[in-house]
């Protein structure tokens, strides 16, 4: 019984992958390709799909971690501003090196994500600990501020770098290529394994610090490790494709409806679900209104923002 949701999601993932390979500016039958179509599928669509899967998976898991750690169902790397922090730091790297240094960008993104997490958590707490509403407001505020700086940097920078940085802001995967995949995959895997190794602590923390302590965990230490894991994942996602919002917000919710709140199941399934959602969003974005391409981040925001409002309306319990 417990395995069922995983199989269902993997089945859906295969369907999404097939759709994603077939659809785009030009619809192809992937089981019967001519050489030109093969080139399109292998050189344009495949890297893009891989990037979308990795990025979506990283965001889904990061969201699941942050929601548990901060006991707030509205937390995710985008809402808490960590995506913006990572993007700003990474944009400096891109502009400085013209995109040459493959490892520099993810590492800068990590530094950006960590710094932003620390600042947001600092602003989000009072004498009694981290407060749900305060944390969200701090995240949104910091996110606005960092986005504004990013835009300022872009408007001051040379034209070539600007285009690249602009794509980051909107979460456009059109520029996806293999170059950044290895470095981002390493960050992502590290973050995922770190989170999985602390899955029991994540469960305990989502019950509150006092209960977590009663269950034998050291809440401060565990929270730091888990926020580090979320920062690694966010940095990986941002390095791959910039800022994409709401994946980390929606996916863990959907997964919890399927399998309950236990992090041992929620973390891996959020990875599958996140990859699937972003891949689907990107496919919709590039095939809905040809020849125009809608950035994947815009598609997720179009779905995610109303979702956010519905969640808000239901109340932060």
């Amino acid at each position: 019984m417990k395995r069922h949701p995983l199989f269902i999601m993997l089945g859906c993932l295969v369907v999404v992958l097939l759709l994603s390979l077939s659809l785009g500016q030009q619809t192809v039958n992937i089981f019967d390709l001519d050489p030109l179509q093969l080139k399109i599928v292998l050189e344009l669509r495949l890297p893009r799909i891989v990037v979308a899967l990795l990025m979506g998976a990283a965001l889904g898991v990061a969201g699941a971690i942050l929601q548990g750690v901060f006991r707030n169902p509205l937390a995710d790397p985008y809402v808490l501003g960590t995506s913006s922090g990572a993007a700003l730091a990474a944009a400096f790297g891109l502009l400085a090196t013209q995109g040459a240094a493959v490892w520099l960008v993810p590492c800068l993104a990590l530094i950006g994500a960590l710094t932003t997490s620390a600042v947001v958590v600092f602003l989000g707490r009072d004498a009694w600990g981290v407060r749900a509403e305060r944390l969200l407001l701090a995240g949104v505020g910091i996110g606005f501020f960092l986005s504004a700086i990013l835009m300022l940097v872009m408007s001051l920078a040379q034209a070539d770098g600007v285009k690249r940085a602009l794509l980051w802001m909107a979460g456009d995967l059109a520029g996806a290529d293999w170059a950044l995949v290895p470095a981002a995959a390493v960050l992502m895997l590290t973050g995922f394994l770190l989170a999985m190794s602390r899955r029991r602590a994540l469960n305990a923390l989502s019950l509150g610090d006092e209960l977590a302590f009663g269950l034998g965990f050291e809440p401060g230490r565990e929270r730091m490790l888990l926020v580090l894991a979320a920062a690694l994942l966010t940095a990986a996602a941002v390095a791959l494709g910039g800022i994409v919002g709401f994946v980390g917000l929606m996916v863990p919710h959907g997964v919890r409806v399927l399998v309950g709140a236990d992090a041992r199941r929620v973390l891996p399934l959020s990875a599958v679900g996140g990859g699937m959602l972003l891949c689907l969003a990107d496919t919709v974005g590039r095939s809905a209104l040809p020849p125009v391409e809608i950035p994947a981040g815009v598609v997720t925001a179009l779905i995610g923002a109303p979702w956010f409002l519905v969640m808000l309306r239901r109340g932060i319990r």
Partner: protein, 247 residues
């Protein structure tokens, strides 16, 4: 002396002294109530007992060692602590909660999740999310989690607060049964003096000091109640009058 022992414990948040030279110990198989006005230090005392706070003076020992010197899981297998506020924003299910408690206690011979759920009468609700069960059942689900840890000492902060009278008595009966049959020692804080009557022993706190330690029948007298809660003479007369009928 095994179990939980407070020895001359003092604690303050900043300047204001909160607990002053408090000494008491829990005997095996005993259901002990902690009584006192708001702000008298009940919750602080339970936090000190759980090792969440460190005493400024004196010490709290669990099985002959300072409670904070135990490693996390060693402590969790000996002592369970249930705070007052049990807000869970994520849709955990009853069984998941109990499994968390079970995973926290490491020693052999602890009960299975199913046995614990049976004990608290939630066997048929194990698959339900916490949001879909009643307040009384939620409280029992959390109690099941702490029982699953397998320790012999339970510290419960206001476990009866916010429950209907029927659930209060049910939960209290369950706690009594656990003390008698499993030999647990339970220290719980509570407000309701009517419920306090049914406990084995009471510790009465006033402004962080132990005012009295003894049997409920001896302690629940109008004079002591008025001192504990700083009631005026009129209230004292009313209490004496009520006691003639009810207590």
């Amino acid at each position: 002396m095994s179990g939980l022992v407070f020895e001359q414990v003092s604690f303050s948040y900043g300047q204001a002294a909160c607990i002053r030279r408090f000494s008491a110990s829990l005997t095996k198989g005993e259901l002990v109530g902690l009584i006192g006005a708001n702000g008298s230090g009940k919750s602080t005392l339970l936090r000190l007992g759980a090792g969440l706070l460190s005493p400024d003076q004196g010490q709290v020992t669990l099985d002959n060692r300072p409670v904070r010197s135990w490693r996390g899981h060693e402590r969790a297998s000996r002592l369970s602590y249930l705070p007052q506020s049990l807000e869970v924003p994520l849709p955990f299910r009853v069984l998941e909660l109990v499994e968390m408690g079970r995973a926290a206690g490491r020693h052999q011979g602890r009960l299975s999740a199913v046995e614990v759920l049976d004990m608290v009468g939630l066997a048929d609700k194990s698959g339900l999310p916490l949001a879909e069960i009643s307040g009384g059942e939620r409280q029992r689900a959390f109690l099941a989690m702490t029982l699953a840890q397998g320790g012999s000492t339970l510290l419960l902060d206001e476990p009866l607060a916010g429950l209907d009278l029927r659930y209060q008595y049910e939960l209290l009966a369950l706690l009594q049964q656990l003390c008698r049959q499993q030999g647990l020692s339970i220290l719980l804080s509570l407000h309701d003096l009517m419920l306090a009557r049914d406990l084995d022993r009471l510790l009465v706190l006033r402004q962080g000091e132990l005012l009295a330690d003894g049997l409920p029948g001896e302690l629940l007298q109008p004079e002591l109640i008025c001192r504990t809660f700083d009631l005026d003479p009129a209230a004292q007369r009313s209490l004496a009058w009520q006691q003639a009928g009810r207590w």
